[in-house]
Every structure is written in C-alpha cells, then in structure tokens.
Symmetry: C2
Subunit: 340 residues, 2 copies
C-alpha cells in the first residue's frame, strides 16, 4: 500500500476537483491510499456530495489554513504553518505519506517543499520536471521555472535527476539526454550552455548533444535540460500555440453549414487528435531534487487532470525516485573522491 | 520604383526557388524592380526554364561565389567577397538596391550585413525580427537568435526597433510592446529582465508590461522583446509543436476508411486552417538595426515562402524602416542630452 497526501484545498477549484479525483483514482488503484488534507468541513461536505466516505484507504487530515493562489511564497511559508499545502508536505516529511500532490501556487509549493523536506545532498536547488508529448512518445523536460539562472553544475544535476526519473518510472535504460540550445552557426549557445555540454560528456548520463527547440516535440530524446527561464518560456509558448491552433480549427469548422456538417463527421478523428495532445493527460510536474516526492498539478486542473497528477505521484513513489537520485549522487560523489 | 537585390543562390534550393519567386512577385508588383545576384549561367538557365527574361524590372548581376549553408560566417566574410550574398548587400550599401533578401545561412548573412552596412548609431547589435500569427492577428518578435546574451539597454533598443517597424509597415500608432518573462511568483524574471522593465517604462515605446510565453500567440501585443536565446527557443519550439500537431491530425484522419472519408469532407476547413498557420506566409525575418534593409528567408523556403520574404523587403523598403529607426534613435539621443 502506498499512501499519498493531497492538498485538497489547492488550485482554482479546491475540493470540487481534488475530492472527486481522489475518489476516482482510489477506485482504480487498489494499492493506493489517500490522505485528503484541508478544512474538514469543506472536504466532508464534498465527500458527501460525491457519495464518498472515509475508509481504510481514504482519510481526512484537518488543516485550518489555505495558501492563496497569488500569495507570496515567503508569506505562505512564514505565516501559514497549518495550511493544507504545508501539512501535506509535513506528512511526507514524517513518513506518513510517500508523496504529496498540490495544485496550489508553484512558488509557495517549491519554497515549502524545500524548507520542510530539504534538497538531496549534492543538489543545489530542486527543479520542476514535466512530461510532454512528442511524435515518438513523450519527453521529460526540466527545469520549467524554479531556477531562473542556472550554473553549468546545476544543469548537470538536472540531467542526472531527469535521467533517473525516466529510468525509474518508465523502466528505460540509458535515457537520451539533450541540452537545449540554439543553432545559429556563429553563436552556438552561450558560455553556460557550452560549459554544461563539456561537463555532461563526463557525467553519468547518456548525453546526446544539443537539442534545438523543435526537437522537444520531434526529437528522439527522453530528457531535455534547460534553465528555468528558457524552459518556462518554451512550455508557456507551447500552451499558447496549442490554444491558438485549437481555436483556429474550431473557427474553420464553424464557418458555414457545410463545414459544420463536416465537423460532425470528422468528430472521431478530431477527438482522437485532441486526446493525443490533451494537456490534462500530461498534468503533474515533479519537484525533483528533494528528500521526498512532491507533485505540482496545474492550478486550473479539472478532475481528469488532477487524477493524472495523483497517478504521477503514485508512479514516482512506487519507484522511490528521490532515493534513487540520492543514491546516484552519492555514487557520483564517491567516484569523484576516488579519482581525486 | 523600388529595387530589391535577391541572393539568387542562397537557401537549400537556390535558383530553383529564388528565380520563379522573383518572376511571380514581379508580375503582381508593378512598382518593384529586382536584381538577381549570383552565377549568371545558373540564373539564365533557370530564367529560360521558367520562360522569364531580363527586362527593365529584372536584371541579373553576376557574382561568382556561393556561401555554403554550413559555412562559418567568419570564413564567408573573409574569403568570399564575390559571393551572391555579399554582392546583394553591397548593392544596398551602394544605394543600387533598397533592400536585400537572402535564404542563405543566418550567421553569414548577419556578419556580412553588419560588416558592409554597419549598425545604426545607438544600436549595439542588430536583431532578428519575425512576424508570428496570433489569435488577434499577428505579432512581431525579436530577437530570434542574433544576440545570445543581451543587456537591458540592448533589449530596450529591440523594443524601439520593433515598435518603429510595426508602426511603419502596418501603420499602427503606439504598438503595444511586451517583455517576455516567466510568471512564477517568487522568481519573476532574472535581473536583466527586471532592469529592462524599468528602462522600458521610461523609453519612447508603449510598454505593456511582462508577457508570458503563451501571450506570444494569445495576447494582444504588437511587439514581443526577448534575448536571442529565449526567442530562438520559443520560435523553434513552436515549429516543432506545429509539426507534431500537423502529423497527429494527419495520422488520425488516416486511421480507417471512415476517418479517411471524413477527411475528404473536412478538407475545406482543414485547408483553411492550414493556410492560417502556414509558416510560409510568415517567411521573411528582418535584420533590424542596420543602415539598410536585409531580409532573411528560411533556408528551406519554397517559392511561396520566398515570395513572402520579397514582399516583406518591399514593405520595409517602401516605408524606409532603417531611416525611421535612425531618426527615432537620434531624437532619443538629443532628448537625453537636453535633459542631462
């Protein structure tokens, strides 16, 4: 049995999404046990509405406060020691849960996770890692916004963490790691990227060289490493482009009676297409580099999306990703001492 | 009459694309005159094949050498003084052409343009600016790869150049300028972005604040400013995602006999959609900040795409964009001296 703590109050929809998602995942995952952390009244009312109840595999853990979606992380950390977010992470720290999931604000979740769980030895700062669909399957990309400026050493840590995450969760040996860069001839990358490439050649990862932006979606890489500024821009740019494309398709099919009819007939293909790129199926970013598994759900996640975040937490907790990363880093450190 | 010099040999397809594109645009633009620069034999043969010929509005200017698509810019600049790319830019320098268009390698084109035309007073380095479709129309984004690391002062120069370009070519007063940034609460941007925002508030542009990646496509901005590394990654990421989405749509419609039939019926809508996001219609990036107009076409451009690059050159040459940027910078400098 694996126990996961859910910040039931987090996200734009709070218990309206987290509770039904929890009930749905519990139905399908017999080895999962969930702790709903948050205001007991609100959670109980929602459980009742959804015809759910506490059970051996579902319990409510009261936490009186809620971190606001726009609340400065420092405030959340200092003042809200009984927030649903904080208490869910405390449960991981105490070993009462193997992972925490929150749709709350990213900054507060990152700050609280670092403060409570601490980073693994050898990791300067945690990174945010997510999965994205590709023409070949999918790829893990990090960092997505936790670290604006990164040193080459940090980028190498991201490469190692990403490799271990993919190796553990997907059982993929030697995941191919690409370093995000630009391809213009005379200006191939900045100094940090160049130095990172040198370090990656000597690091215990399967380094596949530079990747340009388009290779995120069309390359054959398993892990893409970049600093949080670039990663966040790439991710958000993709979200915007996907939204625009969806809107354009909808508009074209609504243009006249003929296109409207053709849309009806095209529905199965269009639906299958939408499913393949549905961002809800990729919801659940990992905060890697911590002494514990913390999954960040999109704030606007609906039930399906939040279910995927819980499943991501389950997969990582099952494979003990933080422990594996810790072991790899310890082995690396020992190796360095030996050769030194 | 406006004269534009075309690097007839540049790009993956050389004269096979540049010559027919030239003939096609000349047919439609009575006030345009073109100079095809490159190896006379190759150009003449292609002209013959396309039933074109030299005329009052189309002449061939022989240049013996060709810059390779992978040739280091420094080599192209030093060794190939009679390349089609170099000679086309020389024609702009001498005032024989109002603009140059090349599908040759970006690094060489940028290095040669800077060397021959020089940057405008007050501009440290030129930037690459392109147009992208948005849900509202389109947006100009710069820099896209010419400047890997940018100072706040350079980013402000990009904002001014982008504003003037949009104002001149589109006749839009007070274009809205956004500064690309990430939105996480505690880590809002790096120091350079923050300092740039301060400077932009005092600059002679209509600064609309930070823009996240998704606002490139869904925002209501006219200009988006970022450093060349981030801009290049955003652009290439978009290209990759668009390719993946197109592939997925095609695959879903090919899945079985029913979806294949529905694709036939959906063809008008799908075609209209593809036209709206067709990257060929957005081909032609401006190298802004130079004493002259230089347009970079995608290396893989086909006839339609290269035509759009020529039309972009025509639009910018008509509106004398470099002169306008020069005037704006001079006014700014005078203003600064007055207040100092």
């Amino acid at each position: 049995m694996i126990t996961i703590a859910l910040d039931a109050m987090g996200g734009d929809h709070g218990v309206g999404v987290t509770v039904p998602a929890a009930l749905s995942v519990l139905d399908r995952e017999p080895e999962l046990s969930l702790i709903l952390v948050g205001q007991r009244d609100a959670i109980d009312a929602e459980l009742k509405r959804r015809r759910g109840a506490e059970s051996a595999r579902l319990r409510v853990h009261h936490a009186s406060e809620v971190v606001g979606m726009d609340e400065p992380p420092a405030d959340a950390l200092r003042r809200k020691k009984d927030s649903s977010m904080r208490v869910a992470i405390d449960l991981v720290k105490r070993g009462d849960a193997a992972a925490a999931v929150s749709a709350g604000n990213t900054g507060a979740l990152m700050a609280t996770s670092r403060f409570v769980l601490k980073t693994l030895p050898g990791i300067d700062r945690p990174a945010i890692c997510t999965t994205l669909p590709t023409t070949h399957g999918h790829v893990h990309m990090l960092d997505l916004g936790a670290n604006v400026d990164c040193s080459p050493e940090q980028l190498v840590q991201f490469a190692i963490m990403g490799s271990i995450l993919v190796g553990a969760v997907e059982g993929k040996p030697n995941p191919r790691v690409g370093l995000l860069n630009i391809g213009e001839e005379d200006i191939k990358g900045n100094e940090i990227v160049k130095r990172t490439a040198e370090l990656l050649r000597a690091a215990p990862v399967n380094y596949a060289g530079y990747a340009e932006g388009d290779e995120i979606y069309t390359g054959d890489l398993d892990v893409i490493v970049c600093d949080g500024f670039v990663g966040n821009v790439a991710l958000k740019t993709s979200e915007g482009l996907a939204r625009m494309i969806t809107q354009f398709i909808r508009e074209e099919f609504k243009r006249n009676i003929f296109t409207k009819l053709s849309a009806l007939l095209a529905l199965p293909a269009l639906k299958a297409f939408r499913k393949r790129v549905d961002p809800r199926r990729y919801n659940g970013a990992s905060l890697v580099g911590l002494n514990g598994t913390v999954i960040k759900s999109h704030g606007g996640a609906d039930k399906l999306a939040f279910e995927h975040a819980i499943l991501e937490a389950l997969a990582e907790a099952k494979k003990e990703v933080p422990q594996r990363i810790g072991q790899a880093l310890a082995a690396m450190a020992a190796n360095k001492e030996e050769t030194a």
